[in-house]
Amino acid sequence: MWIYEKKLQYPVRVSKCDPRLAKFLIEQYGGADGELAAALRYLNQRYTIPDKVIGLLTDIGTEEFAHLEMIATMVYKLTKDATPEQLKQAGLAEHYVDHGSALFYHNAAGNPWTATYIQAKGDPIADLYEDIAAEEKARATYEHIINLTDDVDIQDSLKFLREREIVHALRFREAVEMLKEYQTEKKAF
């Protein structure tokens, strides 16, 4: 089961209303390489991965939900005081028509989240290589968003998230090596 904790993993400070930045950030909420996709990908793969790696997929998958909440907090705070006119100017008129000021799982271009973003191949090496790629793509996305804003508070939270992608990718690479060793050992017997 999962237990909710009433706090963010890392502080999110937002001092202004900036729906344009929120529109970019939504990529990491409901986009192909976003936090929802990451959480669902890892937590689903773990049932059929070798035992040695289940703990890692569980822990990283759970952390992704904490990141999802951080992104949601940024989007919520950046848009909560925006008028419909400001949302329109930020390119969020279509979002407002369907969702009002609510958040929704779609990417920066407005495409809804889809399970086709993720895969479970039932092959541990194939799955872990997808996970490494997913982390590297998420890192690149965070770098792109950091480049698009001069808001130092948001940059601080985004840099934390970017670093987490780097650490996750490293841990997944180590998991690949663990499985390779395990497979070689098995053949030796």
Binding site: I3, L56, D59, E69, T73, R171
Partner: protein, 88 residues
């Protein structure tokens, strides 16, 4: 929907707790791929104790952090009262 007012100490406790939580989370991921690292296990135990103390202090001042009986609730039901994490 409005941002609730929280005392300054709320942020001080919260930030220290977030720091301890982070150490424990990061060491957990590390130990998932390095389960035999005794130094990391010793560090984990050290920070886990500190995290527990800080959680207890935070909850005594600002209410339960965790749901379903994983935090003490005292004599008043404050779980459903804010602030929620995205409101502070």
């Amino acid at each position: 929907m409005t941002t609730p007012q929280v005392p300054k100490e709320y942020y001080r406790y919260l930030h220290e707790l977030q720091a301890m939580d982070f150490v424990c989370l990061e060491l957990s991921l590390y130990l998932d791929t390095h389960p035999d690292d005794q130094q990391a296990i010793a560090q984990f135990n050290q920070f886990q104790r500190r995290k527990q103390v800080l959680s207890q202090q935070f909850e005594a001042n600002f209410g339960p952090l965790k749901e379903y009986g994983n935090s003490p609730i005292g004599h008043r039901w404050t779980w459903s009262v804010g602030p929620w994490p995205w409101q502070v």
